[in-house]
C-alpha cells in the first residue's frame, strides 16, 4: 500500500536504489549529496548490501566498478567536484561496459563554488567529462518522485545497455521535501537484466580490446569497438513529456528543477493568451533529438531555461529550426513570473 509521506529527493534516491536491488554502494560524502551516502550507510546492511566509505571519489567509483564486475548491483553518489574526480573512471566503465549508477547532485561551481547553492552546470560534464569518444546515458529528475523513479530506471538502463548511467540531479531536487506516494522500502523492482559479470568475460581492460577482452591496437578493431559502444543506444527510448497546447507558439524545453519553473511560467503565459507548451526532458543523453524536433516543429520560439550559462540550449539549437533562446540564471532559482516576463519580451 502506498501512503503519503514527506520525503527529500536524496532520500527518495536511496529508496529507489534499494528497491532496484542495489547491493553495493561506495561513496565519499559531499554536499549536497551526502544524504544519499547517509541513507545507504544506514540501510544497505539491513538489506543485505555492502556500504563502504572510500578515501575519495576516485576510489569510490573504482570500487563500485570493481563490485559491478563481479556481479554486484552497484552505485555511487556525489556532487560537482567529486563528479569531476570520477570522470576518468566513468570513461573506463563505458569502455569496459560495466553497469553502474552514478548520482550527481549538482551544486554551484566552478571549483568549490557555493556548496549549498543550486546549479545545473554539469550537463556537459555529464556527457563529455571523460576523455575520448564514448556514449553515456544521463537522466534528469525534476521532483522527489522523479528521484525515486529515475534512480530505478537508471539501474534498469545500466543493465540493459551494460553501461554507466548518470542521474543528474540538482541541489533543489536533492534537498527539497515533497509529499509523495512511493512504493515502500523493500518493494523490490526487478531490474537486473543480463548481468555480464567478470566470470562471463575473462579479461576487462580500458584499452581498446577485442571481443574476448584482450587488448588490440588494430585500428579496424578499435573503430568497430567505438562504433559498437555508440550503436548500443540506437534503440533507447528517451524519457520526454509534453504538456500544454499542441502546436504552441512558445515551447519551453526544460529539465530538473528548471522544469518546475517552466511549468508555472507556462501557466502565466497561457493566462496572458500566449499559446505555450512545456517539453520535459528526463533523458538528457543520448539527446532526444527526434522528440525535441517533433514538439518544437511549429513553434515560433523555443526557450531553454537553465541554471547555468547555457549548456543544453546548444543541443536544442542544433536540432530546432525556429528561434531558440536560453534563459540563464544560477546560484538560485528564477521566479516563474520573471521567466514569463522574459519570454514575453523575447517573443
Amino acid at each position: 500500500m502506498k501512503k503519503k509521506e514527506l520525503l527529500q529527493g536524496n532520500e527518495a534516491a536511496v529508496r529507489g536504489a534499494l528497491n532496484a536491488g542495489c547491493n553495493f554502494f561506495a561513496g565519499y560524502p559531499i554536499t549536497p549529496s551526502s544524504e544519499i551516502v547517509h541513507g545507504m550507510a544506514r540501510l544497505l546492511p539491513k538489506f543485505g548490501g555492502v556500504f563502504v566509505q572510500m578515501e575519495d571519489e576516485i576510489a569510490s567509483i573504482s570500487a563500485a566498478i570493481g563490485a559491478s564486475m563481479v556481479g554486484a548491483i552497484a552505485m555511487t553518489a556525489t556532487s560537482g567536484p567529486g563528479f569531476s574526480l570520477m570522470q576518468e573512471s566513468i570513461g573506463y566503465a563505458a569502455m569496459t561496459e560495466s553497469p553502474l549508477v552514478i548520482i550527481n547532485v549538482m551544486r554551484a561551481g566552478p571549483s568549490t563554488g557555493i556548496p549549498t547553492a543550486p546549479s545545473q552546470g554539469d550537463v556537459m560534464q555529464a556527457r563529455y567529462g571523460s576523455h575520448g569518444d564514448y556514449p553515456i546515458i544521463v537522466l534528469a529528475p525534476a521532483s522527489v518522485g522523479d528521484m525515486y523513479r529515475l534512480t530505478i530506471d537508471a539501474f534498469k538502463l545500466a543493465f540493459e545497455y551494460s553501461s554507466p548511467v548518470v542521474v543528474l540531479s540538482d541541489e533543489v531536487v536533492g534537498h527539497m521535501r515533497e509529499s509523495v506516494s512511493l512504493p515502500p522500502l523493500g518493494e523490490k523492482v526487478e531490474c537486473k537484466g543480463k548481468v555480464k559479470n567478470l566470470f562471463e568475460r575473462k579479461h576487462r581492460t580500458g584499452l581498446a580490446h577485442l571481443e574476448n577482452g584482450l587488448p588490440t591496437t588494430d585500428l579496424g578493431e578499435y573503430r568497430r569497438l567505438i562504433e559498437r559502444l555508440f550503436s548500443k543506444f540506437d534503440d533507447l527510448k528517451p524519457g520526454v513529456k509534453f504538456e500544454g497546447q499542441k502546436d504552441a507558439e512558445v515551447v519551453l524545453i526544460s529539465y530538473g528543477s528548471s522544469y518546475r519553473l517552466s511549468k508555472s511560467a507556462a501557466k502565466l503565459l497561457l493566462r496572458n493568451g500566449i499559446s505555450t507548451g512545456v517539453l520535459k526532458l528526463e533523458t538528457l543523453f543520448p539527446f532526444p533529438e527526434g522528440e525535441v524536433r517533433k514538439f518544437s516543429k511549429s513553434a515560433e520560439l523555443v526557450i531553454v531555461p537553465e541554471m547555468n550559462r547555457g549548456q543544453l540550449v546548444k543541443e536544442v539549437e542544433r536540432v530546432c529550426c525556429c528561434r531558440v533562446k536560453g534563459v540563464s540564471y544560477y546560484g538560485s532559482l528564477i521566479l516563474p513570473e520573471e521567466l514569463a516576463k522574459i519570454v514575453e519580451v523575447l517573443l
Binding site: E55, A59, G66, V70, H203, P215
Partner: protein, 254 residues
C-alpha cells in the same frame, strides 16, 4: 613445471622489453599459485597501468586491467562484493606509490584481504624512464637530469606504518624466497604487501645480467626490527593477525 596452463597463449608474446624482469615476477607468481593450491576459478588478478599493468592480460585467470593508480580501489570493490574470491593486485612503484599512494595507505589501514605485489624498478618504465617516488636520491632520469633531489619512499616501512599485516621485500634475483612469500601472502588473511625490487634494462641502460648481479650483491636477507630496516634489506618484516575488513563489513549484514 608447466607455465603454459596459466598463460593466455593468444596474448603472447608479452610486450615487455627483452631482459625485463617482469617475466621473472610472472613466473614466480605462477609457481606461487600452484604452491598455495588456491582455487584458480576463484582467483581474480587486478593490475594498474604501466609495464606491470600488463601482468593481468597474460594470466589465464579472471583478470582486470584498471586505470592508473586505482588498482587497489577496484580490487577493494571486487573483494568486498565477493569476499570468497582470492584477489591479487599487481602494481608498479609509480602506480602504487605516486598516483595510487592514497589508495595504498588506506588499503593498508583497512587491512582488507588482498595481496598487493608491487614491482619496483625505481622509475617509470612505460612512459620513458622518468623519476618515481622510489628513485634513489641523486639518480639521473629523464625528469631528474641533474640527479634526483627527492627522498624515496621505503615501501616496506610505509606499508607497516599504514597498517598492512603482511609485509615483505624480495628481488627478482631471489626468486625462491619471492615465490614462497607470494604463496604465504596469498594465504594470509589481511592486507599483504610484497615489494619486488627489479630494474629496467631499457631505461637504466644496464644489461639484465648486471641488474641481477646488482640485486644479488646489494640486497641481504634480514629480520631487522622496524626501526632498523634498511632499503637494501629483504625478508618478511611483518606478519600479524588483525581483524580483516570484509569480515567486519559483512558482519554488519543481517
Amino acid at each position: 613445471m608447466k607455465y603454459a596452463e596459466y598463460l593466455r597463449q593468444d596474448a603472447l608474446p608479452t610486450l615487455w622489453c627483452p631482459g625485463c624482469l617482469n617475466g621473472v615476477v610472472l613466473a614466480s607468481f605462477i609457481r606461487a599459485m600452484r604452491k598455495s593450491k588456491i582455487d584458480r576459478e576463484r582467483t581474480v588478478v587486478v593490475s594498474g597501468i604501466g609495464c606491470s599493468g600488463r601482468m593481468s592480460q597474460y594470466l589465464d585467470l579472471f583478470t582486470v586491467h584498471t586505470t592508473h593508480g586505482r588498482a587497489l580501489a577496484f580490487a577493494t570493490g571486487i573483494k568486498l562484493a565477493n569476499p570468497s574470491l582470492n584477489v591479487i593486485v599487481f602494481m608498479g612503484d609509480g602506480d602504487a606509490l605516486a598516483i595510487g599512494g592514497n589508495h595504498f595507505i588506506h588499503a593498508c589501514r583497512r587491512n582488507i584481504d588482498l595481496t598487493a605485489i608491487v614491482i619496483n624498478n625505481r622509475l617509470y618504465g612505460m612512459t620513458g624512464g622518468q623519476a618515481a617516488p622510489t628513485t634513489p636520491e641523486g639518480e639521473i632520469t629523464r625528469t631528474s637530469p641533474y640527479g634526483n633531489v627527492e627522498r624515496p619512499f621505503d615501501l616496506v616501512k610505509l606499508a607497516i606504518s599504514a597498517g598492512a599485516t603482511y609485509v615483505a621485500r624480495f628481488t627478482a634475483y631471489h626468486v625462491r624466497w619471492l615465490e614462497k612469500s607470494i604463496a604465504d601472502a596469498i594465504m594470509h588473511k589481511g592486507f599483504s604487501v610484497i615489494e619486488v625490487v627489479t630494474g629496467c634494462p631499457t631505461h637504466q641502460k644496464k644489461k639484465p645480467a648486471d641488474i641481477l648481479e646488482f640485486l644479488k650483491s646489494n640486497f641481504k636477507r634480514s629480520d631487522a626490527s622496524f626501526e632498523e630496516i634498511r632499503p637494501s634489506d629483504i625478508g618478511v618484516f611483518k606478519k600479524e593477525i588483525r581483524p580483516e575488513f570484509c569480515e567486519k563489513v559483512w558482519g554488519l549484514i543481517l
